[in-house]
């Protein structure tokens, strides 16, 4: 049985879905699982790791770790991973994980693969795949000279199992590392949205140059409200300053994989497709029937988005409520 170490992220006392996916996958493979949670509230969230398969869970529950800091976090994480004797490490490919774990991999002199989309186990060995060249192809990840195979998985890729509250999971408390004077976090500026991030969203409504100006994004905000969706945009729109860069989808923006992606007034340039072609179902609304976006779409509406989007919103409201 491969010893597997899983870094679990949590929010409001609950372990995030992405981490539950990984616990489920490792448990199904028969792994002996050690989990780790960092930050205030980790003690409260820790037992859930046990319910999904961890036999031991470490927590580092300190107010001083309220904000992420790669220097402080990497120290405690590396040491704990090393002491666990694991040969496989899994975490969600979140903004924190993508920043932190390559540094941890350096400390452990091992290899890491981020942003993977497929994970299976062949006996003890995890087999991961990841998209390359902005999703234009995919390849299997192979490790060499790596005492620990570190894999960061995109969320929403794997099933989540049923919790089992019967088993025993030992919870162990770690002491907080000292903060390195050379790098300190001084502030966290909350974004202007409390919506799910594009990279985690299940439904995305996206606007392009066809929206004509910044104000018209109201239309998409309303549609998103009805669908509980997050709003995205093309680069043309982000560059024009109609929306912040953080909303850009594509090769030089966010890579997204929702169940439903609705593209409004987006032509479907290859760099845009690169960021969203992993979506399960794609809908395009565009007045040009030859727009390349249609070639990647499941459903297409050729028409004026200013007429179609409000009607779509009305229809959804009446059907979903």
């Amino acid at each position: 049985m491969a010893k597997t170490f899983i870094f679990c992220e949590f929010n409001n006392g609950k372990i995030k879905k992405g981490s539950l996916e990984l616990l489920t996958a490792a448990k199904a493979a028969g792994a002996e699982i050690t989990a780790l949670l960092i930050g205030p509230g980790s003690t409260e969230a820790a037992p859930e790791a046990g319910h999904y398969g961890a036999s031991a869970t470490f927590v580092c529950d300190s107010e001083s770790l309220k904000n992420y800091n790669p220097m402080a976090w990497s120290k405690v994480v590396s040491q704990t991973i090393k002491n666990s004797g694991c040969t496989v490490f899994l975490a969600t490919s979140s903004m924190t994980a993508k920043d932190l774990f390559p540094r941890v991999a350096a400390q452990l002199e091992t290899g890491i693969a981020s942003d993977c989309t497929d994970l299976e186990f062949n006996g003890d060995t995890p087999i991961a795949k990841k998209p390359l060249y902005a999703g234009k192809c995919k390849a299997q990840v192979n490790f060499a000279n790596s005492p620990i195979q570190m894999i960061l998985m995109r969320p929403n890729q794997l099933p989540i199992g049923e919790p089992d509250t019967g088993g025993h999971c030992e919870i162990k408390t770690l002491s907080a590392p000292e903060i390195d004077d050379r790098l300190k976090i001084t502030d966290v500026k909350k974004g202007n949205t409390d919506k799910v991030d594009l990279t985690e969203a299940n439904v995305i409504v996206s606007g392009g140059r066809g929206m004509k100006d910044a104000d018209n994004f109201k239309l998409l905000d309303e549609l998103a409200e009805t669908l509980e969706a997050t709003v995205g945009a093309s680069r043309a729109v982000a560059d024009a300053g109609w929306v912040p860069h953080s909303m850009q989808v594509g090769q030089t923006g966010k890579t997204v994989a929702p169940s439903l992606y609705i593209a409004c007034g987006i032509s479907g340039a290859i760099q845009h497709l690169a960021g969203m072609s992993g979506s399960k179902v794609i809908v395009a609304i565009n007045q040009d029937k030859d727009a390349p976006i249609f070639a990647k779409s499941n459903y297409g509406i050729v028409g004026d988005l200013f007429e179609v989007v409000p009607k779509l919103n009305e229809e959804l409201k009446s059907v979903l409520n």
Partner: protein, 258 residues
């Protein structure tokens, strides 16, 4: 003060990817190579720092097949970098080995105050080299940086995370800064800049000079596959209200995503 900028050559974003006959890589024969877009933000930020404070030497550094990556270094020098270092290697070094080689090369230099990189390279999308490199250099890192300010020994960097939230870091001393889009607007190389770049010094190293070999990679890729073909799009006809109704029906009953 000495600043280094790490640059990588990647296939142009327009490139159609073809898989090799053995399935273990891509066909590179007809690829047009460009400087990784995020590295352009890194170059620009280094040049801005140079312009804001005196006596700063900006050195661009790249690893890869010499002929290919020298183009990237000349681009950086045409934009304004003072000199370049090329580490010649066969292709496909993983992030670990890339960072190891970069760190060994940088340790040979007299000093190193900042290292600018792109937040990721758009080919392998690893977003790992900057952090590996920082650890190997024994200095802090901040990635996905969309604002960088400061002077003397004290700097502030803003890192963009989920939902447009920004973490603000204060940094003292050398660090690796990995640039995100929005950090700045990269300048174009001017014609005189391009002419001058041809004469700027370029130091050449090999992996062997750094005590490393291609076999030190820790992650490789195999079994390449193209995405499955999408079935043809289903166009929905009619007046907007009818189209909306039909679409919602299809999304609920056929696609089952609502």
């Amino acid at each position: 003060m000495r600043i280094f900028v790490c640059v990588k050559q990647v296939p142009d974003t327009e490139t159609k990817i073809k898989i090799n006959s053995d399935g273990n890589g891509i066909d590179e024969s007809s690829i047009k190579w460009i400087v990784n877009p995020y590295d352009e933000f890194a170059i620009e930020e280094a040049l801005k720092l140079k312009e804001s404070a005196g006596e700063i030497r900006v050195t661009a550094i790249s690893i890869g097949p010499k002929k290919r990556v020298t183009d990237a270094l000349r681009t950086a020098m045409a934009m304004g970098a003072d000199d370049g270092i090329v580490i010649d290697s066969e292709d496909s070094l993983d992030p670990y080995l890339t960072a190891k080689a970069l760190s060994e090369a940088l340790k040979k230099e007299d000093s190193c105050d900042f290292i600018f990189t792109g937040k990721l390279a758009i080919d392998d999308n690893a977003s790992s080299v900057s952090q590996y490199l920082a650890e190997f250099m024994g200095i802090p890192h901040v990635t996905v940086v969309s604002s960088f300010k400061g002077s003397g020994g004290s700097y502030t960097a803003e890192r963009e995370v989920e939902g447009g939230t920004k973490e603000v870091y204060s940094i003292s001393g050398p660090a690796v800064i990995a640039a995100n889009k929005g950090l700045n607007t990269p300048r174009y190389a001017s014609l005189p800049g391009i002419m001058k770049a041809k004469k700027k010094p370029l130091k050449e190293l090999t992996l062997g000079d750094l005590g490393l070999s291609g076999a030190d990679s820790k992650v490789t890729f195999s079994n390449f596959e193209l995405p499955p073909e999408k079935p043809p799009v289903k166009f929905i006809e009619g007046e907007p209200a009818e189209q909306a109704k039909e679409l919602v029906k299809l999304l609920r009953e056929e696609a089952k995503v609502l």
